[in-house]
């Protein structure tokens, strides 16, 4: 069995339990902070898969109640889009 600490929590950015715990030990107590500190939740899925797992780890480690661990700040685009969508020609670019 792989090392427990080496277990992945964030699938997209490949962030381990150990890295999340380290972030908490270094003072992170929110999903936003963990995201910025470790990149967990910053990948393509935008924390849809791991945010709940990380919230539980924060709660366990810090005693912070789950209701106070709010989801990461939502920002547009709320779905992964291609960067050319922002170019003035964006809507004309054909799928190459």
């Amino acid at each position: 069995m792989e090392n427990e600490q080496n277990r992945l929590i964030c699938r997209c950015e490949e962030i381990t339990l150990e890295e999340i715990i380290q972030a908490i030990d270094n003072g992170c107590t929110s999903l936003n902070e963990i995201k910025r500190y470790t990149r967990a939740g910053m990948g393509l899925c935008q924390s849809r898969v791991c945010s709940r797992l990380i919230a539980r780890i924060i709660a366990e480690k810090t005693g912070k109640p789950l209701d106070e661990i709010v989801p990461v700040t939502a920002r547009p685009p709320s779905r992964p889009v291609r960067i050319d969508i922002f170019s003035p020609r964006g809507c004309n670019v054909k799928n190459s």
């Binding site: 699938r11 997209c12 490949e14 990948g43 393509l44 899925c45 849809r48 898969v49 992964p80 799928n95 190459s96």
Partner: protein, 111 residues
């Protein structure tokens, strides 16, 4: 990992479109036009869709509805295409994605 030809509730398989040929890592795979790429790949027995950037670990289908982005592959030269929500088109060229993938496809030598 095979197609469900007969189903007790849904009846016989009604393909989403005509049989077409796609190229998966250079091998011909017969798929139905309009079905999701991930379905065609799993029906052909393929479960590994990509290898991750850091750990170089295999990944495959996880959520099947376009949310988790774990099933991304290089499709017609475009990396990070969610195969579970992208329909098959005839002649599609699909490649196992390594790491963050490369535009234009092809192996970029991390494996």
């Amino acid at each position: 990992m095979s197609r469900i030809a007969e189903h007790p509730i849904l009846g016989p398989l009604k393909p989403s479109g005509r049989e077409v040929s796609i190229l998966v890592d250079g091998e011909e795979v017969i798929a139905y036009e309009g079905e999701m790429i991930a379905a065609a790949l799993m029906a052909s027995g393929r479960r590994v869709f990509r290898y991750t950037e850091k750990r170089r670990e295999p990944r495959g289908l996880y959520c099947a509805i376009g949310r988790c982005t774990d099933c991304v592959m290089i499709v017609n030269g475009i990396p990070n295409v969610r195969t579970c929500v992208t329909p098959v088109e005839p002649g599609m060229i699909i490649e196992t994605q390594r790491g963050i993938g490369r535009w234009g496809g092809g192996d970029h030598g991390i494996h």
